[in-house]
C-alpha cells in the first residue's frame, strides 16, 4: 500500500548510457514532481506535472526528459549519462487544491543513481 513508489531503488551505470526511473503514486493526486538530491544532501526541484501537463521545468539539461503517461505516473528518462548525474532522485506527489491551500507533498523512497 505504498503511497509513492519508485523503481529501481539503486541504479549503477556507465557514462554515456541512457536510463529511466519510474514513479507511481496511488494517492489519487493530480500533481507530481522530480527532485534531485546531491552528495551534500541539497534538494532541488527538477520538474513538476499537473494533470499530465508540465508546469515546472527548472534549468535542467535537456538530457533529462520527464514523461507522464497518466496522472499516477511520472517517469524520468536520462540520456547520455554523465558523472555529475550521480545523485538520489526523489519523486513526489500532491493534490493541488483551489484557493491558497498548499497540500503536502508526499515523497517516494528515492532512487540512488551512480554513474561510473
Amino acid at each position: 500500500d505504498t503511497a509513492v513508489s519508485q523503481t529501481p531503488k539503486y541504479l549503477v551505470t556507465q557514462m554515456g548510457n541512457d536510463k529511466s526511473i519510474k514513479c507511481e503514486q496511488n494517492l489519487g493526486h493530480d500533481t507530481m514532481y522530480w527532485y534531485k538530491q546531491d552528495s551534500k544532501k541539497f534538494l532541488k526541484i527538477m520538474f513538476s506535472y499537473n494533470n499530465k501537463e508540465l508546469i515546472i521545468n527548472e534549468t535542467v539539461p535537456n538530457r533529462f526528459s520527464p514523461k507522464s503517461p497518466d496522472k499516477a505516473h511520472l517517469n524520468l528518462h536520462i540520456n547520455s549519462l554523465e558523472l555529475g548525474d550521480s545523485a538520489v532522485y526523489f519523486c513526489a506527489s500532491s493534490q493541488v487544491t483551489s484557493g491558497s491551500q498548499a497540500d503536502t507533498q508526499y515523497f517516494g523512497p528515492g532512487t540512488r543513481l551512480t554513474v561510473l
Binding site: F42, I45, S48, I55, F90, A102, T104, F107, P109
Partner: protein, 114 residues
C-alpha cells in the same frame, strides 16, 4: 524568488535534551513554510507546515515551529529528543500562490546520543 538558510549543518544533542533547529527564509512575496524529516536511506516526510493563522505550529513526533515574520524565521523545536529523532531535517518554502514549488534549505543533521 525564495531562498532558505539553515545555518547549522549538524546539531549534536543528548537524549531527553531540548533542541532547536534554525531556519531563515527570504522572499519578496508571502510564503508557506515547511519542515521535512529524512531518516537514513528514506524519502522525506512532512513534520509540519505553516500556511496562515497561528504562528505556532505543532507537528508530528512532538515537534513544533514558530513563524516569525519580522525575523523571517521558522525555527523547529522539540522539548525532549529521542535517539530515534536522529535524522536530516529540511526547512522549505514556497510562495502562497500558483503551483507549489518547494525551495529547500541545505538541511540540518540532528545527532541524538545517549
Amino acid at each position: 524568488a525564495q531562498s532558505v538558510t539553515q545555518l547549522d549543518s549538524q546539531v549534536p544533542v543528548f537524549e531527553e535534551a531540548p533542541v532547536e533547529l534554525r531556519c531563515n527564509y527570504s522572499s519578496s512575496v508571502s510564503v508557506y513554510l515547511f519542515w521535512y524529516v529524512q531518516y537514513p536511506n528514506q524519502g522525506l516526510q512532512l513534520l509540519l507546515k505553516y500556511l496562515s493563522g497561528s504562528t505556532l505550529v505543532k507537528g508530528i513526533n512532538g515537534f513544533e515551529a514558530e513563524f516569525n515574520k519580522s525575523q523571517t524565521s521558522f525555527h523547529l523545536r522539540k522539548p525532549s529528543v529521542h535517539i530515534s529523532d536522529t535524522a536530516e531535517y529540511f526547512c522549505a518554502v514556497s510562495r502562497n500562490t500558483g503551483f507549489q514549488k518547494l525551495v529547500f534549505g541545505t538541511g540540518t543533521r540532528l545527532l541524538v546520543s545517549p
